[in-house]
């Protein structure tokens, strides 16, 4: 009896099935797809569960400052303003500080000190948000934030940004606690950017007679600028979404006032604070819609930031620094 030879593709296929490679690969692809699908599902679910609110308020949800659960009128402008004000102010303080730390850790500190010191700074990121809130509310606020706020109000009180009266809890308090919270993110990523810059750049600058600071400010920082920018945006994204610590120190006030020294709300903190009160569907949907806006903003910022950071990493392979 003559056997017909199996075609080659069938042979390869059966061999792979027997060894389990196809199943294994299918499994890895499936897991990857589940993770990506979850991501899409987050956006879809938030969109789906805000249908009523989106139909009722439309775009005025973003531009109205009226947040009145009794009248069922909801506008998110004060919370968007609060989020942007606190996050940008925190970034304004944290970026130079974080860059300074990165420079110290990557360029200045003695070699034996770099790893432990970098590690201690990163521990700041490991402290839970709620512990920051607790410490912020009972220690940081009365001992540091309030005196600083009173000084700012006394000196620059004529500016709308620093208008009184000064209470304890305020958007200023939230900004100052956010500064500490995003500092480790910014310093660690800036350090990575600096470390990715090839040593030839440093040597060339020093050989031309630059001082160390001139090397840093005129060569390294311009070279890594897009990476530093990406880092700043990532830090901003982190600040925008920070919830519990901010909720505890910001004072939870719906008014739209320009002064940073006044109590306010951020998008994340209004959700956390008012969620338990939202018994009516439209109220609940308005809160979820605030979450939807927050999702899209952080999504856009993170995509932008990652593209920037990735572009730097691709341009300069880290092996160049040896």
């Amino acid at each position: 009896m003559k056997q017909t030879p199996q075609p080659l593709w069938l042979k390869t296929f059966t061999r792979q099935i027997q060894h389990g490679d196809v199943i294994f690969r299918a499994l890895t692809i499936l897991a990857s797809l589940i993770i990506l699908a979850t991501f899409v599902a987050i956006g879809f679910e938030l969109w789906q569960n805000t249908t009523l609110a989106r139909e009722k308020f439309g775009l005025s949800f973003l531009t109205s400052d009226e947040w009145d659960p009794v009248q069922q009128q909801f506008g998110a402008l004060p919370t968007i303003y609060g989020t942007l004000q606190t996050s940008l102010f925190a970034l304004l303080l944290a970026l130079p500080l974080g860059l300074g730390i990165a420079i110290f850790l990557a360029e200045l500190a003695p070699t034996w000190l770099r790893a432990p010191l970098g590690y201690v700074v990163e521990l700041l990121a490991a402290v839970p948000s709620v512990v920051y809130g607790l410490w912020g509310l009972y220690v940081y606020l009365p001992n540091f934030v309030k005196p600083t706020a009173q000084f700012l109000n006394g000196t620059f009180g004529f500016l709308p940004l620093f208008e009184g009266p000064v209470y304890g809890p305020s958007r200023f308090a939230a900004s100052l606690i956010l500064t500490i919270m995003i500092l480790p993110t910014i310093s660690a990523l800036c350090r990575d950017v600096l470390l990715a810059i090839p040593n030839t750049q440093r040597e060339a600058a020093l050989a031309l007679g630059a001082t160390k600071w001139e090397m840093i400010s005129q060569v390294l920082i311009p070279y890594g600028l897009s990476g530093i920018l990406g880092t700043a945006i990532l830090g901003l994204g982190r600040a925008l979404g920070e919830t519990i610590a901010v909720t505890m120190v910001i004072g939870n006030n719906r008014d739209l006032s320009p002064s940073i020294l006044h109590p306010g709300y951020t998008m994340a903190s209004i959700i956390a604070n008012e969620f338990a009160e939202a018994t009516e569907e439209i109220y609940l949907q308005a809160l979820i819609e605030v979450g939807l806006v927050l999702f899209f903003i952080t999504l856009a910022l993170n995509v932008l930031a990652r593209l920037l950071v990735w572009s730097v990493a691709r341009r300069t392979p880290s092996e160049l620094r040896a």
Partner: protein
């Protein structure tokens, strides 16, 4: 002559700028360490006052009644974190294998980019998501929904650290295994994953440390429960949420309990973190990397 003094002055100014800026950089580092020390010292001091064995073994007492503990929150935190581990770790590791093996296929790029972006989405959004898919249809809060929210937060951390560790395994190991006739998945399962195991464990510990401290998603999902519960389908107390509730309450003795709970949580979270990092450092040293 004049130009010489000018250039000397110029040189002195450059050196001065240099010194000032370098000192400022060192001060910035100090400014970051200061709050860390301040927080840790304060939590240890305030939290230590109330610390006792009962704090770990008893349920909370009503306001004004002395004693009581946070046993319910300790059990609850362990529950939701365990749910998160069970869901997130297998999927993350299997997906990390794909990301490490095929980093430049469209799916590989999408996965790596997607998880990077996912790690930047606020945890409160994950809480709302878990709320809409589980709590809303079921009409009650549950430990399960809390665990799912935490699983989504944990996934990028475990995935990226597993991927990094798999990439660090020397090519020669893989080639040796394949040359001996082992199939791809056997090579992965019996050679590469064991070689990367320690790094994967580190990633898991960092992930656990991160999600164990999350309070925001718990507001919409696990919600809190004054009684001892181990039911997946019922509301459950967690340590971070307990701190939040105690801290914003108007009662002095609840504030004291908030500090002690914070001490427990911070020892747990920072402890996990320090062990994980020390473990990696030791491991890399042993393997000859720095």
């Amino acid at each position: 002559m004049k130009s010489l003094t000018n250039s000397r002055r110029h040189f002195r100014r450059r050196k001065l700028t240099n010194a000032v800026m370098l000192v400022l950089c060192a001060l910035a580092t100090l400014a970051a360490i200061l709050p860390l020390v301040w927080i840790l010292a304060y939590v240890a001091q305030e939290g230590g006052r109330f610390l006792s064995v009962e704090f770990f073994t008893q349920l909370p007492t009503p306001v004004g009644v002395p004693g009581g503990g946070v046993l319910n929150a300790i059990v609850g935190s362990a529950m939701v974190v365990a749910i998160a581990i069970v869901i997130a770790v297998p999927i993350s590791i299997v997906a990390a294998i794909y990301a490490a093996e095929h980093p430049n296929t469209p799916l590989g790029i999408a996965l790596r980019f997607g998880t990077d972006v996912l790690s930047g989405i606020p945890s409160i959004v994950m809480g709302i998501f878990a709320y809409t898919i589980i709590v809303l249809p079921q009409k009650h809060f549950s430990a399960l929904s809390g665990g799912i929210a935490l699983a989504i937060i944990m996934t990028p951390i475990v995935l990226r650290s597993t991927e990094e560790m798999l990439k660090l395994v020397p090519r020669s190991l893989r080639e040796g295994s394949l040359a001996l006739g082992a199939s791809e998945w056997k090579t992965m399962w019996q050679v590469l994953l064991p070689a990367a195991l320690n790094g994967i464990v580190t990633g898991m510990m960092l992930g656990i440390a991160r999600v164990a401290g999350e309070a925001a998603p718990m507001i919409f999902t696990a919600f809190g429960n004054p009684f001892l519960s181990a039911d997946l389908d019922q509301p459950i107390a967690t340590l971070p949420h307990t701190i939040y509730v105690y801290a914003i309450s108007p009662y002095k003795d609840w504030h004291a309990k908030a500090w002690t709970t914070a001490l427990v949580l911070i020892v747990l979270v920072l402890g996990l973190n320090i062990i994980a990092r020390a473990f990696t450092a030791w491991q890399l040293k042993k393997m000859g990397w720095r």
